[in-house]
Every structure is written in structure tokens, then in C-alpha cells.
């Protein structure tokens, strides 16, 4: 096989070009937001949030059109936008609920996350199971993504989310850095610490919901954590880490699409395995260099 056959030939298909574009957009947002998720030690929270958007997506899916449609949902003409808004509402609801449960030490954070996350996920599956056809066919797409079936409106949602998420992080970067590193300093500087933390949670939620079609709920965490963890091995400044992480996630996303195409495997797991391979190689090199340096 020539390079032309590997990389150029598949591009004759429109769904392949769209999948690659979607992988780049998903990589940019999850890479940048993932840097904050990693340095703040929020990986469990990120995983939970990805799962807890399910009931919102399910309600938007089942009650969006037809005889049982809810007026508030059917007023949104585009189905992809409906799913996005449903998922985002459920995500923000869960984030605020977890935040409220852990305030004043009512519950330990990981306990609160564990309770809400599985309950929301169960609720989502319960709602989808009311529609046997959706349960069989579409649940898989929500759980594991459907990047080859990405629609034009999905791509627009991803483009707008990418601009909004990355733009917000650039605008508030130094304040988010302070809050992430030392919330005591944030208070001493009289920064709106609670508001900034909530902003970050909302950005995580937007990223997850926007990338739902590309990666799916179950494998979302890998796109948030693994590229950022790889980038952290390469640099010791947060803004460099965020940029590297976005680059790694995008490149691995595109490579994953090609791997999926040529090996006839599902796209989302292929992307996750590519990015994990890169992490393993980087980790190995870092460990080796440390040993060489120290001897």
C-alpha cells in the first residue's frame, strides 16, 4: 500500500472527510479543556459528567418529535440541536447538583459524583428503553459515538462550541490558572472563585456534549484525559500543555479515523487506542530520559 492509498484515497468519500473534520474539532476542544481536567484532578468528574448527560439526550431524542413530543423540545426544529440542548441541560444540572451535595462537606466529592453519575446514566437508559427501536439501534451511537454518520448540523454545533470554548479559555486563562492552582490565592485576590469554578464545569459540559456524536459517552474520558496527560509529560507550563494537548488529540483523532477505516473497526475505540499508544510511547521516553539524566 502506498501512502497515497492509505491517506488520500479514502478522502474521496464525503463521510470520511466529515469524520476527519469532526475528529479535529473534537480534539481541539477536548484537548484544551482536558488540560484543566487533568491538572485539577477532575477525571472522575469528567467521566461522570459524560455519563450523566444521557437522560437529557434521551428525552430530547424520544420526546422531540411525533405524538408524544414535548412542546419546548419540538419547537427546536433541528434534531441535532435538540440533542445538544438536552444533553447540555442534563450535564449542567448534574454538575450543579454534585457541587451542591459536596458544599459544606455534606458528602465527599467522589461519593456525590458516584451517586449522581450512575443514577443519571440509569435514568437515561430507562428513558431510551421505553422505545425498543431506539434502544436497539441508537443507544449504541450515543454510548460509542458515530463519527462516520456525523451530520452537517453536528459539525456546525462542533464548530461553534470549539470557538466558544477555546475563546472563553483564552479570555479567562490567567484567572482559571489561579483558581486551578491555588484557590486560596484566588480568594486573597478577590477573584470570583466560585464563578470561575462553575465556568470551568460548564466548559467541560459543553465540550462533552458537543463531542458526543464523535466519541460517545463511554469513551469521552479518554479524549479529555489521555492527550492532556501526554502533553503534561512534555512541558511544565499550562498554556503550552493545553496547546500540545489539543494538537495531540486532533492528530490522534485523524489517525484513529484512518486506522478504523483500514482495519474495519469502530472509530471511537480506534481513536482512543491511538491516543493511548502515543501516551505509552511518551511515558516510556520520559521515564528513560529521567533514568539517563539521573545516572
Amino acid at each position: 500500500m502506498t501512502l497515497e492509498e492509505i491517506f488520500i484515497a479514502p478522502l474521496q468519500y464525503e463521510f470520511m472527510r466529515e469524520a476527519i473534520f469532526a475528529a479535529i474539532l473534537a480534539g481541539l476542544t477536548s484537548g484544551v479543556v482536558g488540560a484543566f481536567v487533568v491538572v485539577r484532578g477532575m477525571s472522575f468528574f469528567g467521566d461522570a459528567l459524560a455519563h450523566s448527560i444521557l437522560p437529557g439526550v434521551a428525552i430530547a431524542y424520544i420526546y422531540g418529535t411525533g405524538a408524544s413530543a414535548l412542546p419546548i423540545l419540538s419547537s427546536i426544529a433541528n434534531e441535532d440541536v435538540r440533542l445538544f440542548i438536552g444533553g447540555l441541560s442534563a450535564g449542567i444540572f448534574s454538575a450543579v447538583l454534585i457541587n451542591w451535595l459536596t458544599q459544606k462537606n455534606r458528602l465527599k466529592e467522589d461519593t456525590a459524583i458516584g451517586i449522581i453519575f450512575v443514577a443519571m446514566f440509569a435514568l437515561g437508559i430507562a428513558i431510551i428503553s421505553t422505545d425498543p427501536r431506539a434502544y436497539q439501534r441508537d443507544l449504541t451511537h450515543i454510548l460509542f459515538g458515530d463519527i462516520f454518520g456525523i451530520t452537517e448540523s453536528d459539525l456546525w454545533i462542533m464548530i461553534i462550541s470549539t470557538v466558544v470554548v477555546i475563546g472563553t479559555i483564552i479570555l479567562f486563562f490567567k484567572e482559571l490558572l489561579v483558581v486551578s492552582f491555588d484557590s486560596g490565592l484566588a480568594h486573597a485576590l478577590k477573584l470570583p472563585s466560585g464563578g470561575l469554578q462553575l465556568l470551568l464545569l460548564i466548559l467541560v459540559a459543553v465540550t462533552i456534549v458537543a463531542n458526543l456524536q464523535a466519541v460517545g459517552v463511554v469513551l469521552m474520558l479518554a479524549m479529555l484525559i489521555t492527550p492532556a496527560a501526554t502533553a503534561q509529560l512534555m512541558t511544565h507550563r499550562l498554556h503550552t500543555m493545553a496547546m500540545l494537548s489539543a494538537l495531540i488529540a486532533s492528530i490522534c483523532g485523524v489517525l484513529g479515523i484512518y486506522v478504523a477505516w483500514h482495519l474495519h473497526i469502530a472509530a471511537a475505540p480506534a481513536i482512543v487506542l491511538v491516543v493511548t499508544t502515543l501516551f505509552a510511547i511518551t511515558f516510556g521516553i520520559t521515564a528513560f530520559r529521567k533514568r539517563v539524566w539521573h545516572h
Binding site: 491538572v39 484532578g41 459544606k104 462537606n105 479570555l171 490567567k174 484567572e175 490558572l177 489561579v178 486551578s180 492552582f181 491555588d182 484557590s183 486560596g184 490565592l185 480568594h187 486573597a188 485576590l189 478577590k190 477573584l191 503534561q232 512541558t235 511544565h236 507550563r237 499550562l238 503550552t240 500543555m241
Partner: protein, 267 residues
């Protein structure tokens, strides 16, 4: 050596005034009740008390991390709730993630974030202030290092530089001597001496009673309440220490001389 009494009358506005400050009990925090004291400009005061006495709570209440129930706090006579004046805060080192991707310079620049303002990048002026702050603590040559690659004493000095970069002259230091060796302790003390010479006011929480009694001219003793406030020779007396530390202090009298032994587990 400066103390309130020696300051000229024109400096009568205190660097820090705390009146009737109370913070209720929340899990993880000790309560403090009805604490009042004042720090004169350029004073360096030690804050001592047993574990759980509320030293960290007092600091957190002062910087606004936990809300006051009652009380009034002012910096240079301006009410903290409305004033733009800020505390320079050096948190307990155990609360910091040392693997965080930030260089020494990045950490000190964090102290400038409020001054830089929303939606703006650090200017040349901000970078100059960061470098000056690093010079003041003798850490300029480490500017590009990742913060985890520093020794215990160096880490403390970087955080002191960060507080200086805030351009404030009232510093709160929470256990800056905890877990550092004698050499690092001397370095930190030298830094604090230099700051005091520049008129910086400092309140320093410490477990180290020997240090509090030899290197400070004023000591606050707290255990929920303010138990004593005065010069070391007036504070380190059996009665006060017994009230602060309870049965964790042993006092032995012999030939009119008393020896005090304190059993203080390291936090």
C-alpha cells in the same frame, strides 16, 4: 526592631485591624471566636496555638476563603469587604500540587492577576515586578524552573515572592517553617528579615515555639479565642501555655525556676 509603642503617632493607622472576628464550626475547620488584635506597620508577629486551635481558620477568614460570622477586618484602616487592598497570602505548602505545570515565574505572576485585570495579558511592567519580587527573595535564577523541582525552602520563598508581586504590604504566612531543614529555615528567616526592613507587615502561623520566642518580638496565642498577645517573655509563661495547650504542656518547678515541656504532634 519595631513595635507598636515605638511607632510615631502619625503611623497610628494599623496595617491590620481585626475586631471581634468569629467563624463558626464547619467540618474540616476549627471554630474561632471573638478574636481581636491589631498589627502596626512593619510588625512581624507569630501566631501560635495547638493543632486545631484555628490558626489556619483565622487566615482563611481573613482572606475571605470562609465567610465571617461576625467581626470586622481592615487593612490600613480600610474595610476588607469594600477595599481594594489585598492580603499577600502564603498558604500551607501541603495544599499545593507540586506537579502542576507552572514555572517559578508563572507562580509569581499569579500574584499579579488582579492588578493585570480581566481580558488582559501581563505587560512588561508586570514582568519587571515579578523579577523584582524574585530578586527580593533571591530566587531570580530559578525563574524558569518547574515549581516541583525546588527544595522546601526555595518553594516557600517563591510563594513569598508571589505575595510581594501582589504589591501589598500585609502578608499572612501559614506555617512557612513546616517540614524544612535548619538551613532552609535560616534562608526563609533572612528573607523575612529583609522584608521587615522594608516595612512589610507579617503575621506568621507557626508550630515552632522556640522560633516564636527567639525570632519575634510579639506573639499571639490562640485556641479558639485569643488567649494572649504580647512579647515572648510575657507570653511564654506557665499559666498562658496551660490555657492554650491544656495537658499537652508539662510544667516542672524546681528551685523557683520552671521548665516547660510541650508535647506537640506535627500537623
Amino acid at each position: 526592631m519595631t513595635s507598636i509603642a515605638q511607632l510615631p503617632y502619625s503611623n497610628a493607622i494599623h496595617a491590620l485591624t481585626v475586631e471581634n472576628l468569629s467563624v463558626g464550626y464547619r467540618s474540616g475547620e476549627s471554630a474561632i471566636s471573638d478574636i481581636s488584635f491589631q498589627l502596626g506597620v512593619g510588625e512581624r508577629v507569630a501566631l501560635i496555638g495547638p493543632n486545631g486551635a484555628g490558626k489556619s481558620t483565622l487566615f482563611k477568614a481573613l482572606v475571605g476563603m470562609i465567610p465571617h460570622q461576625t467581626g470586622y477586618v481592615s487593612i490600613h484602616g480600610e474595610d476588607c469587604r469594600t477595599s481594594h487592598k489585598l492580603f499577600g497570602y502564603v498558604p500551607q505548602q501541603e495544599t499545593i500540587d507540586w506537579s502542576f505545570p507552572a514555572t517559578v515565574e508563572d507562580v509569581v505572576m499569579m500574584g499579579r492577576v488582579k492588578k493585570i485585570g480581566w481580558f488582559k495579558m501581563p505587560s512588561k511592567h508586570d514582568r519587571q515586578i515579578v523579577h523584582m519580587a524574585l530578586d527580593q527573595v533571591g530566587m531570580r535564577e530559578f525563574a524558569k524552573r518547574q515549581i516541583g523541582q525546588l527544595s522546601g525552602g526555595q518553594k516557600r520563598r517563591v510563594f513569598i515572592a508571589r505575595a510581594l508581586a501582589q504589591e501589598t504590604d500585609v502578608l499572612l504566612l501559614d506555617e512557612p517553617f513546616n517540614g524544612v531543614d535548619v538551613g532552609a529555615e535560616a534562608e526563609i528567616l533572612a528573607t523575612l528579615d529583609a522584608l521587615q526592613a522594608n516595612g512589610i507587615t507579617m503575621l506568621i502561623a507557626t508550630h515552632d515555639l522556640a522560633l516564636a520566642s527567639t525570632r519575634f518580638d510579639r506573639v499571639l496565642v490562640v485556641n479558639c479565642h485569643l488567649i494572649a498577645d504580647g512579647a515572648p517573655q510575657d507570653v511564654f509563661v506557665p499559666d498562658i501555655l496551660r490555657r492554650a495547650y491544656g495537658n499537652r504542656v508539662g510544667i516542672f518547678e524546681h528551685n523557683g525556676q520552671s521548665t516547660m515541656v510541650l508535647e506537640e504532634p506535627i500537623a
